[in-house]
């Protein structure tokens, strides 16, 4: 990023873009020291919705804890459960049947599209356009219905178990997902014509809050925040896990580093996820969804295990230090928005408050996931 703009302001005032503010989509406070409408410097204060997930992990056994993961990021919950489940399976060497892995991949990608749709609606609403939010939520409703039919709940699915999934998908799931894909492609085209092409929208986002590769590296940013600044990093491609090597999809990368690049990356990620779902449905093998004799008590051997997964918000890493008992000795949740939000303080100096809030919208924040 160009050398941060040093505004020598003689007398500035502190504005609390406070815990209750329409643009923060949650309880996040940014103490901005302002000179008129320009931000001199900002300090993010988090912790308003901190629930100490990591201590809960140590007090509970593995089967009692997996539903907490979907409470971390309720928009893309399945990605987090997938990470947790893969980690424990890797640690205690549980074999997962082929069909379960495919269903996991399909449902994670459906959840990713739902999360990106919600981000798209909220982002355009941050910039003042209200109708695209309603269209995005309507498309998202189709996905939630599909997932509700098989998992039973709309946001916080407890669908994955260690070794497989809770219950099987049926013919109607496959058929309604196949019907959903062309409809989604049509509305994606509509969004591009309605929003991406719009000159007001383009003028607001091009050149807004440039992020350099170096800033992303120093803060460990991932997902569209990094891919918008020319970093070709997606855990599904860099560290392939589960059945992702079988799918061919590509990673959208733009190198401008402004909010428009981040916006375009996420919009194309939705198309890539559609491609993955299509291939997943074609290759869906039949067979069991749980191993023949699923482990009764989960006791991973002593050691330190790490598993990184690509969720809708980025590289979610989860580290397990196990001492061989039923409870994990230490479970560290590395949340992607934590690092993505961390670079906000440094990169929003010198911006107008309008641009800074547009920049915050392009970071795709879910606050409970930052605070854990």
């Amino acid at each position: 990023m160009s050398e941060p703009v040093r505004i020598q302001a003689d007398e500035t005032f502190v504005l609390n873009v406070g815990p209750q503010h329409p643009a923060t989509h949650g309880v996040l406070r940014v103490k901005m020291e302002m000179d008129g409408e320009y931000i001199v410097n900002a300090e993010t204060v988090i912790g308003y919705i901190h629930r100490m997930h990591e201590k809960m992990a140590e007090l509970k056994t593995y089967p009692q804890y997996y539903m907490n993961l979907s409470r971390m990021d309720y928009l893309g919950a399945l990605g987090y459960c997938h990470g947790h489940v893969l980690l424990v399976e890797k640690a205690s060497k549980i074999e997962v049947p082929e069909r379960a892995e495919y269903i996991r991949a399909i449902t994670v990608e459906l959840n990713r599209i739902a999360s990106h749709l919600f981000w798209f609606g909220a982002f355009v609403m941050d910039l003042g356009g209200f109708s695209p939010l309603m269209y995005a939520l309507q498309d998202r409703e189709y996905i939630l219905d599909i997932l509700e039919r098989i998992t039973g709940s709309r946001l916080t699915y407890s669908y994955y178990r260690f070794g497989g999934i809770y219950n099987d998908v049926d013919e109607q799931f496959v058929e309604s997902t196949r019907k959903f894909i062309p409809r989604m492609r049509k509305s994606l085209k509509k969004y591009h014509r309605l929003v991406t092409g719009n000159i007001i929208f383009r003028k607001r986002l091009e050149g807004n809050a440039l992020l350099s590769r170096e800033t992303c590296r120093k803060y460990g940013a991932s997902s569209a925040v990094a891919r918008g600044s020319g970093i070709n990093y997606d855990v599904r491609k860099n560290e392939p896990y589960s059945v992702y090597p079988e799918f061919d999809f590509d990673i959208p990368v733009y190198s401008e580093g402004d909010s428009m690049a981040r916006y375009k990356v996420r919009m194309e990620e939705m198309e890539q996820s559609l491609r993955i779902i299509e291939q997943g449905l074609d290759k869906l093998p039949d067979g069991p969804i749980m191993p023949k004799k699923p482990p009764k008590i989960i006791k991973p051997p002593v050691g330190d295990y790490y598993q990184a997964v690509e969720t809708a918000r980025g590289n979610f890493g989860i580290r397990l230090i196990s001492d061989g008992t039923k409870n994990p000795y230490r479970l560290k949740l590395r949340s992607p928005t934590y690092s993505n939000m961390h670079l906000f303080d440094e990169s929003c100096r010198g911006l107008l408050i309008m641009d800074a809030l547009a920049f915050m919208g392009s970071l795709d924040l879910v606050i409970p996931e930052i605070d854990r």
Partner: protein, 179 residues
Amino acid sequence: MILEKTHTALAVLFPETTIDDSQIGAVEEVPAKEEEKGAKKTPEPRKNGVILRDYAVHGYHVDIQLAPSQLREAVAIVDSLDYFIESITGVDWIKEEQMEVIYDFSRYDFDLCRVVIRTRVPRDQPSLPSITSIYAGANWHERETHDFFGIKFEDHPHLVPLLLPEDADFHPLLKDFKA
């Protein structure tokens, strides 16, 4: 390719351990094997050194344990090799009266190599040099570890509670923490 480069770059930090280079040469690490074997008796505490771990089992490649004084040096080497910081994890080994801090670094390009740097500090007055000067992204991670474990990070720009309330003096993730 980057694996060997990182490995040799970081091995330079431990001149005294180069004598038994069998430990460095062996790709499948020696101590890990006897760790599984001797799981019953508590494995003797691990010496400072570089170990290559099997990614499929553990999820990371290079595993380094070093003294707190060498921490900044190692992180500077990792920074020069274009790694990005992933997270800082604190662990409270109450039985050994020690606290461990684990630094995770990974790579953006397809030449995958995840580096894990571990340091051990005594449990009664834990303090570590802060790496915020090298990786600005470590600022919040260090503040969070300070919140949960009470580990002081020297010359950290703004060491106040991050996730806990401002006046919090308790450290919840310690094993002897009573709610």
